[in-house]
C-alpha cells in the first residue's frame, strides 16, 4: 500500500474512532432514509393452503439418485485425492526426505534440516519417504532456486516450502506439489492441499522460542485498547482508558494520548489492527506473541494453518471498508470473548508459532493428518492446550484418553492405577513395598521391571492384585516405555528402594484424580539459577518451594510414557541413560513443558531419610561417573528444550484434617500422621 493510502486509512480510522466516541450511531441512523411505514410491518405470509404444498423432491427421488461413475477432477487444479499418492505412506506415518542443497547450504535451509532431522518424521532415504521436501531458499551464489530435483515426477508427493518471503525465481512448474508459503491469498490457495504458513522474521528462534508476553488473563485497566500496525514495522497505540469501561463495555470515554512505538517492540494493547497487506503479516505474529488480539482488516489472506486452527477463537477477520462497525464492535465486545481470544493467542503462539521447528512440525503434522484420515487429530486437539504437536494422534484420537481434556469433556480418568516398580542393581525384590502398594484399594496391577544383573527370584509373594515381572531392561529410559501391559490411565512409578504406606498411596492417587495432567509425588527437588556458574542448578535440600518430583515414587498419566518415548529428541533420552538421575529431570521437564504447571507434592512420612540427593544417585542401575555429566544435566536439558520449562510451587496438598487436633477416628488418612 502506498503511504498516502495508509495515511488515509489511519485518518479514516481515527476519524471514525472519534465518531464512535461521540456516539455517532444515532446520527448515522438519521442519515439513512427511513422508509415511510405504511401500517404494521409484515413477515412471510402464512399460507392458508400450506398443507397442499408439495415436497421439493418426489417420493423416492432422493433414493433413486441414479448411479453414475465418479467424476474426475477438472482443469489443472489439485485436491488431496487427485494429486497426492497416499499409498506410499503406509505404515509408520509420514516419512519425510529433505533434498540437500546443490551448492553451499543457506541458513534457512540449514534450519529447516535441523528441525526435521532427529524428529519422528525424518528419513534419509528418498525411496522410503512418502513426502519429499524441497526448501525454496535464496541461493546466495546463483540467486536462483534449486534446480528441478531428481525425483520430481511432476511434483507428486512433494512439499515446496518457502519459509521467508521474496523467494527466488523458480525455474520449474510447481505442478502437483503441495505449496507451503507465507500468507497466500485466498484466490490462489488450494484448500485441503496447500498449507498456509506464517511470515517468519529471519531471526525467528530455531526451537523453544520466546514465550508469549501475556502475564495475566484479563486486560490491564490502563492498557491501550487499540494498536495499529505501522508500515515501517512499529505499532501506533491509541490510548483509551479501559478501566473506565464497566464490564459490559459501555465506556466513559477518555481519549488518552496517542503514542507511536518504533521498531519491533511488541504492541501493548488489547486489539491490534493489521491492514490486510502482505508485508504486514509479520505484525500478525507479533500481535499473537504479545497477546494482543489480531484484527485483520482484509479477508483476502489465508491465515496460517487455517486448515486446522480455528482462528475465530483467536483473531478477528474483518473488512477495512467498515471502520465504524469494526471499532464499535471491538469496543462493545463482551469481556468473556476478549478474555477467550487473548488466551487463545497465547496458546497458539506457544503451540505452533514460536519457533521454526514448531512451524515446520505443524506443517508436517497437517499433512500427516490428511494421510491418517479417520485417525487424524480431532479439531479439539488442535485448538486447545497443549495442542496437536503434544497430543499424539498415534496414542489416541479420543480426547478422554489424554490427561488434558477431562474438565472440558466432563469426564474422569478411568479406573485404578498400575504400579510400575523398577528394580535396579542390588536386585532385591521389594517385598514390603509390593505389599503396601497391593494393599491399596485403587491398585489394579503391579508390574516389576527387573533390570538387575541377578536373575529375578522364581517366587513372588501372593498379592491381591496381578503381579507381572518382566526382565531385560538395561536402560534407565526403559522405565518410561509405553508398555502394552499398562491398562490404566494412572501409573505409580516406583523404585525398589522406595518406601510408601498404603495410606500414602491411597491419598496420592485420589489427589492425582483431581489433577490427571500433572505429576503427583512425595519427594521433591527444586531448580535455581546459579549466578556464579551462569547456569541452572538443582538441589534436593528441603525448601519452601519445589519444581520437580522424583519418579521413584510418583503418580502420573500413562500418556507421558508415550510422549517420553516418541516425542522427545533421541539425544535427550540418551543423556538420561548416561546419567540416571537425569531421567527424573527429563520427565519433569517434559511434563512441565506440556502443562506449564508445577508438579504436586503430597505428604510423606519418611521425608528426611529418603531424599535422594541429585548428585549422588543411589540404588539405581550402574553408578555413573561422579560429578560433571550429572551437574550439567539440567543445563543440557534446558538447551534441548530451548527454554527452562520448570515451574515452582509453594504448596503441598494434605488431607483436609491433616494433623488437626481432632480425634484421629474422624480422619480418613490417619496413618499418614504416624511418626
Amino acid at each position: 500500500m502506498q503511504s498516502w493510502r495508509r495515511k488515509a486509512l489511519l485518518l479514516a480510522l481515527s476519524a471514525s474512532w472519534l465518531l464512535v466516541l461521540l456516539g455517532a450511531f444515532p446520527l448515522l441512523r438519521l442519515a439513512v432514509p427511513t422508509r415511510p411505514r405504511a401500517g404494521a410491518s409484515q413477515g412471510w405470509p402464512r399460507w392458508l393452503d400450506a398443507e397442499l404444498l408439495q415436497s421439493f423432491s418426489q417420493p423416492g427421488e432422493l433414493l433413486e439418485d441414479a448411479p453414475e461413475l465418479p467424476q474426475g477432477p477438472r482443469g489443472g487444479s489439485c485436491d488431496w485425492g487427485a494429486c497426492f499418492d497416499a499409498s506410499k505412506c503406509r505404515g509408520g506415518g509420514l516419512k519425510v526426505f529433505v533434498y540437500s542443497a546443490a551448492g553451499p547450504v543457506s541458513e534457512t535451509h540449514r534450519r529447516i534440516l535441523a528441525s526435521i532431522e532427529g524428529s519422528r518424521y525424518h528419513t534419509s532415504n528418498a525411496a522410503e519417504a512418502c513426502l519429499l521436501l524441497l526448501p525454496l531458499t535464496r541461493d546466495s551464489s546463483a540467486g536462483e532456486c534449486s534446480p528441478v530435483p531428481p525425483q520430481w515426477n511432476g511434483g507428486r508427493n512433494h512439499l515446496v516450502l518457502s519459509l521467508h518471503p521474496a523467494p527466488c525465481p523458480r525455474t520449474f512448474q510447481l505442478g502437483q506439489a503441495i505449496v507451503a508459503e507465507a500468507s497466500p491469498t485466498v484466490d490462489t490457495f488450494r484448500h485441503g492441499f496447500d498449507v498456509a504458513l506464517p511470515l517468519l522474521p529471519e531471526a525467528h528462534a530455531l526451537r523453544g522460542g520466546a514465550p508469549g508476553q501475556l502475564r495475566q488473563h484479563s486486560p490491564h485497566p490502563r492498557v491501550a485498547l487499540l494498536a495499529l500496525a505501522e508500515e515501517r514495522g512499529g505499532w501506533h497505540t491509541a490510548g483509551t482508558n479501559f478501566s473506565a469501561c464497566p464490564w459490559d463495555g459501555h465506556c466513559e470515554q477518555d481519549h488518552g494520548p496517542e503514542q507511536t512505538h518504533p521498531g519491533a517492540t511488541l504492541p501493548n494493547a488489547t486489539f491490534c489492527l493489521i491492514p490486510g497487506h502482505r508485508p504486514d503479516a509479520s505484525h500478525f505474529l507479533q500481535a499473537l506473541q504479545a497477546g494482543c488480539i489480531p484484527v485483520l482488516l482484509s479477508p483476502r489472506w489465508e491465515l496460517p494453518f487455517s486448515e486446522v486452527i480455528d482462528w475465530t477463537k483467536a483473531a478477528i477477520v474483518t473488512d477495512k471498508r467498515l471502520p465504524l462497525q469494526v471499532l464499535a464492535a471491538l469496543q462493545q465486545m463482551p469481556l468473556t470473548r476478549v478474555l477467550a481470544l487473548r488466551q487463545q493467542t497465547q496458546f497458539l503462539w506457544d503451540a505452533y508459532f514460536s519457533s521454526v521447528e514448531k512451524v515446520i512440525h505443524t506443517t508436517l503434522e497437517i499433512i500427516q493428518d490428511r494421510i491418517f484420515g479417520a485417525s487424524a487429530h480431532p479439531s479439539l486437539l488442535w485448538n486447545s492446550p497443549p495442542g496437536a504437536l503434544l497430543a499424539l494422534s498415534t496414542f489416541s484420537t479420543s480426547p478422554s484418553d489424554f490427561p488434558f481434556y477431562h474438565v472440558q469433556q466432563g469426564s474422569r480418568p478411568v479406573g485404578r492405577f498400575s504400579a510400575l516398580i523398577w528394580v535396579g542393581a542390588p536386585g532385591k525384590p521389594p517385598l514390603k513395598l509390593i505389599q503396601a502398594v497391593a494393599g491399596s484399594q485403587h491398585c489394579a496391577q503391579i508390574l516389576v521391571l527387573w533390570s538387575s544383573e541377578k536373575p529375578p527370584p522364581p517366587r513372588w509373594p501372593e498379592t491381591a492384585v496381578p503381579l507381572t515381572v518382566s526382565e531385560g531392561h538395561r536402560k534407565v529410559s526403559d522405565r518410561f516405555f509405553p508398555y502394552n501391559a499398562i491398562s490404566t490411565d494412572a501409573i505409580l512409578s516406583l523404585d525398589a528402594h522406595s518406601s510408601l504406606s498404603t495410606s500414602e498411596v491411597d491419598f496420592a492417587f485420589v489427589v492425582w484424580q483431581s489433577f490427571p495432567e500433572r505429576m503427583v509425588g512425595f519427594l521433591t527437588w527444586s531448580h535455581f539459577w546459579d549466578e556464579a556458574l551462569g547456569g541452572w542448578g538443582y538441589t534436593a535440600e528441603r525448601a519452601n518451594e519445589f519444581s520437580m518430583v522424583l519418579t521413584s515414587a510418583a503418580f502420573y498419566h500413562r500418556y507421558y510414557h508415550t510422549l517420553f518415548t516418541h516425542s522427545l529428541p533421541e539425544a535427550l533420552r540418551a543423556l538420561a541413560d548416561e546419567a540416571p538421575t537425569c531421567v527424573d529431570v527429563l520427565m519433569n521437564f517434559l511434563v512441565a513443558a506440556v502443562t506449564k504447571l508445577p508438579p504436586i507434592k503430597v505428604p510423606y512420612r519418611k521425608q528426611h531419610q529418603e531424599a535422594r540427593p541429585p548428585l549422588a544417585p543411589e540404588g539405581r542401575g550402574p553408578r555413573p561417573e561422579p560429578q560433571p555429566p550429572v551437574r550439567n544435566c539440567i543445563n543440557q536439558m534446558a538447551a534441548g528444550f530451548g527454554h527452562m520449562p520448570l515451574v515452582s510451587s509453594r504448596l503441598r496438598l494434605d488431607p483436609v484434617l491433616f494433623k488437626d487436633s481432632v480425634s484421629v477416628l474422624r480422619k480418613k488418612y490417619r496413618s499418614l500422621e504416624k511418626p
Binding site: 399460507w47 415436497s55 421439493f56 463482551p334
Partner: protein, 674 residues
C-alpha cells in the same frame, strides 16, 4: 456474538436431528448458514442470536392468490456462477452496516408465480420445505421487511431441486428481482444440484455473484469462505419418531442402507459382507413387498425385511456412499438414528464444515480405501466410538483456560463489605494491610443511613484505601466488579475477620496464583445427598471432604465478580439479596459451574472465630442456619439444573507445614490454628 460462540460450542442444537419437527430444523439450518458465513470472516463479530422475535403481523392468504409475472423470452440472463467470488470481491459489506447493534438483516422477496411468454410456469411456485425455511427466517430476529436496511436478500424463487425447474427461465426470474445487482448479497438455497448425465455438484442455474447454500458441494465447485454447504433434507427422518439410543455396542458393526449404488460399490459391499459375515449388513431395495407398503420405508437383505430408518439404530457404523450426487439424504437419516456415518465420497464438502468438526461425529474414508473400511473402523477405540455416537460437537470451556501463573508483583485487592461495625472494620484494615502482597483496599460501605467515618479517622496504611458507597444494602454488593479493582486477584473479606494471620493471607494469595481460576478460601464446607429426605444437605465442620469455601475470606479472580453480577443464572441474585444469606454458596456454584473445577481450601482453619462476634458465631451454628443453608443448595441446584460442586479430599498447606524443620527457615511459619 456470545450466542455465536455458544452455538459453535454447544453442539446438539446444530445437528439436523429434526427432533421437534421441521420448524426447528429450518431455524437451525438457517442459523448455521449464517454461522457459516460468520466463519468466513466478514461477519465474524456481528452479534448473533437465533431467538425468535416474531412481532410481525402475519398475513393469511391463499397460495393461489399469488401475483403472476410473465417473463419475456429475451429478458436478461445472469452470468454463470463466478467461481472466483470471495467475500472481499463479490460481497457488498456496506449494505450490512446500517443497522443499530450491527445486526445482520435479511429481506425476503414476496412470492410470485413466474410464467414464460406462453404462460407455462417456470417451476412449482414453492415447495413445502422452502416455504418452511422462509417462514423460519421471517420469524427470526434477522428478518426485516425493509429492503433498504437488508444486508442479505433471499429470493422466494424455489431452487431447492434443480430437476423441478427450468434453468434458463429461473435465471431470468432471478435477474429481474428489484435489488438483484448481479446477485450481490443474494442468498440461494439448493439441496439437489445438477442433473443427468454429468451431475454438476453445484446448482446449474446461472446466478452470477449470489451466495449459495448448497447440498453436495465438491472441492471443485465450493467457494471456500463464500458458499455454505448444507445437508440434504430427508423427509423420512422428520416424519418418523426414533427412540433415543445411548452409546454402546449394537447388533451390526457396519450397515449399508442405500438402494441406488454404482455397481462397483455394490460389489465392494458384497465382498465386505462375505469377508466379515454377520457383523456387516448390506441392505437393498425390496422387490416383493405386498401392496400398500411404502417401499421407501422398507429395506431387504435376502428375504428378510427391515423397517427403515429404524434399522439404522441397530448398527454402530452406517455407510454414506456417494451416488451421482455427493450430498446424500441418507446422511440425515443416519445421524438421526445415532449411527456413526462412514462417509465415502471423495472431494465432498461435508455440511457446515466451516463450523462443525466432522471428525468428532463421523469417519471419512477415501474411495480408494473402501476395501479396507472394515479394518479402519476396527482400529477406532471404543471410547471414541461412544463419543461419536453421542454426537458431541463441543464442550464446556473454562473462561480462564490458559495455564498462567500471574506475577506475584501484581498483588491483590482486598474488598471489605461493611455496614456499621467501624471498630472491627478498622482492625481488619490494620491486619490486612500487613500482608505483603496487598495492592489496594476497597471498603464497600453498605449503610445508606449513616456516613462512613471522616477521612482522618481511618487507619493509615501503606496502600491506597478507597471507600465505595452503595445505593442499597445488598449482599451482592460485595461481588460487584468495581472499576477500582485493578488487580486480577480479589480478596473478599468480612469486616469481622481478624483472626487470619498475615502469613495465612499471604499464603492464600500464593495458592491463588497457582490456581487462578478457582475459589481459594479458608474454612471449607460440604454438600451431601440426604437419602432420607431425598435432597441436598449442608455440612459444616470436621469432614474429610470439601466442596465449598466460605467467602468471609476468599481469593478469586475478579472476572467472577463480573459473572456474579451480570451472568448469574435465574433469580439466584435476587433470592440471595432477599434472604440476606448464601451469597457465598451462590459464588461457589457459579465458579464450579463455569470451570468444572473444585475449590481449594487452604490451611487447617475450620471456622471464623472472633471474640467480638460470639453471638453471630452462635447463630451460625444454629440449627435454623443449617436448614437455611441446605435450602439454598437445593434452590441453586434446581436453578443451575445440575449440581456443579466438586468434592475433594485435599487442602493446601505450605510445603513444610508441620514438618520437622526449623520454624525460622519456613516461609509461612505463622499459619494459625483451627
Amino acid at each position: 456474538m456470545c450466542a455465536a460462540v455458544k452455538y459453535s460450542l454447544r453442539g446438539p442444537a446444530l445437528i439436523p436431528r429434526m427432533k421437534t419437527r421441521h420448524r426447528i430444523y429450518y431455524v437451525t439450518l438457517f442459523s448455521i448458514v449464517l454461522l457459516g458465513l460468520i466463519a468466513t470472516g466478514v461477519f465474524q463479530f456481528w452479534p448473533h442470536s437465533i431467538e425468535s422475535s416474531n412481532d410481525w403481523s402475519v398475513e393469511k392468504r391463499s397460495i393461489r392468490d399469488v401475483p403472476v409475472v410473465r417473463l419475456p423470452a429475451d429478458s436478461p440472463i445472469p452470468e454463470r456462477g463466478d467461481l472466483s467470488c470471495r467475500m472481499h470481491t463479490c460481497f457488498d459489506v456496506y449494505r450490512c452496516g446500517f443497522n443499530p447493534k450491527n445486526k445482520i438483516k435479511v429481506y425476503i422477496y414476496s412470492l410470485k408465480k413466474y410464467v414464460d411468454d406462453s404462460g407455462v410456469p417456470v417451476s412449482n411456485t414453492i415447495s413445502r420445505e422452502y416455504n418452511e425455511l422462509l417462514t423460519a427466517i421471517s420469524d427470526s430476529d434477522y428478518y426485516t421487511d425493509d429492503i433498504n436496511r437488508a444486508c442479505l436478500f433471499v429470493p422466494s424463487i424455489d431452487v431447492l431441486n434443480q430437476n423441478a425447474l427450468r434453468i434458463k427461465e429461473t435465471a431470468q426470474a432471478l435477474a429481474q428481482l428489484s435489488r438483484w445487482d448481479r446477485g450481490t448479497n443474494h442468498l440461494l438455497f439448493n439441496m439437489l444440484p445438477g442433473g443427468p448425465p454429468d451431475y454438476n455438484t453445484a446448482l446449474d442455474v446461472p446466478r452470477d455473484r449470489a451466495l449459495l447454500a448448497g447440498g453436495g458441494f465438491s472441492t471443485w465447485t465450493y467457494r471456500q469462505g463464500y458458499d455454505v454447504s448444507i445437508p440434504v433434507y430427508s423427509p423420512l427422518s422428520a416424519e418418523v419418531d426414533l427412540p433415543e439410543r445411548g452409546p454402546g455396542p449394537r447388533q451390526y458393526f457396519l450397515l449399508s442402507s442405500q438402494t441406488a449404488l454404482h455397481p462397483e460399490y455394490r460389489e465392494e459391499l458384497d465382498a465386505l459382507q462375505a469377508r466379515h459375515g454377520p457383523s456387516v449388513l448390506v441392505l437393498e431395495k425390496c422387490t416383493n413387498l405386498s401392496e400398500g407398503v411404502p417401499a421407501v420405508r422398507k429395506r431387504c437383505h435376502r428375504h428378510q425385511v427391515f423397517d427403515y430408518p429404524q434399522v439404522l439404530q441397530e448398527a454402530t457404523f452406517c455407510m454414506v456412499l456417494r451416488g451421482a450426487r455427493l450430498g446424500q439424504a441418507v446422511l440425515s437419516d443416519v445421524l438421526r438414528a445415532g449411527c456413526v456415518p462412514v462417509v465415502i465420497a471423495d472431494s465432498y464438502i461435508l455440511p457446515f464444515s466451516e463450523v462443525l468438526d466432522w471428525k468428532r461425529a463421523s469417519v471419512v474414508v477415501p474411495e480408494e480405501k473402501m476395501s479396507d473400511v472394515y479394518s479402519i473402523l476396527q482400529s477406532i477405540p471404543q471410547r471414541q466410538i461412544e463419543e461419536m455416537q453421542r454426537q458431541k460437537w463441543g464442550s464446556v470451556s473454562n473462561p480462564l483456560f490458559l495455564p498462567l501463573i500471574p506475577p506475584q508483583s501484581q498483588g491483590f485487592t482486598a474488598i471489605v463489605l461493611t455496614y456499621d461495625r467501624v471498630e472491627s472494620l478498622f482492625r481488619v484494615i490494620t491486619e490486612v494491610s500487613k500482608v505483603p502482597s496487598l495492592a489496594k483496599l476497597l471498603v464497600v460501605w453498605n449503610n445508606q443511613n449513616k456516613n462512613p467515618p471522616e477521612d482522618s479517622l481511618w487507619p493509615k496504611i501503606r496502600v491506597p484505601l478507597k471507600v465505595v458507597r452503595t445505593a442499597e444494602n445488598k449482599l451482592s454488593n460485595r461481588f460487584f466488579p468495581y472499576d477500582e479493582i485493578e488487580t486480577e486477584a480479589v480478596l473478599a473479606i468480612d469486616d469481622d475477620i481478624i483472626m487470619l494471620t498475615s502469613d495465612e493471607l499471604q499464603f492464600g494469595y500464593e495458592v491463588w496464583r497457582e490456581f487462578p481460576d478457582r475459589l481459594v478460601g479458608y474454612p471449607g464446607r460440604l454438600h451431601l445427598w440426604d437419602h432420607e429426605m431425598n435432597k441436598w444437605k449442608y455440612e459444616s465442620e470436621w469432614t474429610n471432604e470439601v466442596s465449598m469455601v466460605l467467602t468471609g475470606a476468599a481469593f478469586y479472580h475478579k472476572y467472577f465478580n463480573y459473572l456474579y453480577t451480570y451472568k448469574m443464572p435465574g433469580d439466584i441474585k435476587s433470592w440471595v439479596d432477599a434472604h440476606m444469606n448464601c451469597e457465598d454458596i451462590a459464588m461457589n456454584f457459579l465458579v464450579a459451574n463455569v470451570t468444572g473445577k473444585a475449590v481449594i481450601k487452604v490451611t487447617p482453619r475450620k471456622k471464623f472465630k472472633c471474640p467480638e462476634c460470639t453471638a453471630i458465631d452462635g447463630l451460625s451454628l444454629d440449627q435454623t442456619h443449617m436448614v437455611e443453608r441446605s435450602e439454598c443448595i437445593n434452590k441453586f441446584a434446581s436453578v443451575f439444573g445440575t449440581m456443579p460442586l466438586k468434592v475433594v479430599e485435599h487442602r493446601a498447606d505450605p510445603v513444610l507445614y508441620k514438618d520437622d524443620f526449623p520454624e525460622k527457615l519456613k516461609s509461612f511459619p505463622n499459619i494459625g490454628s483451627l
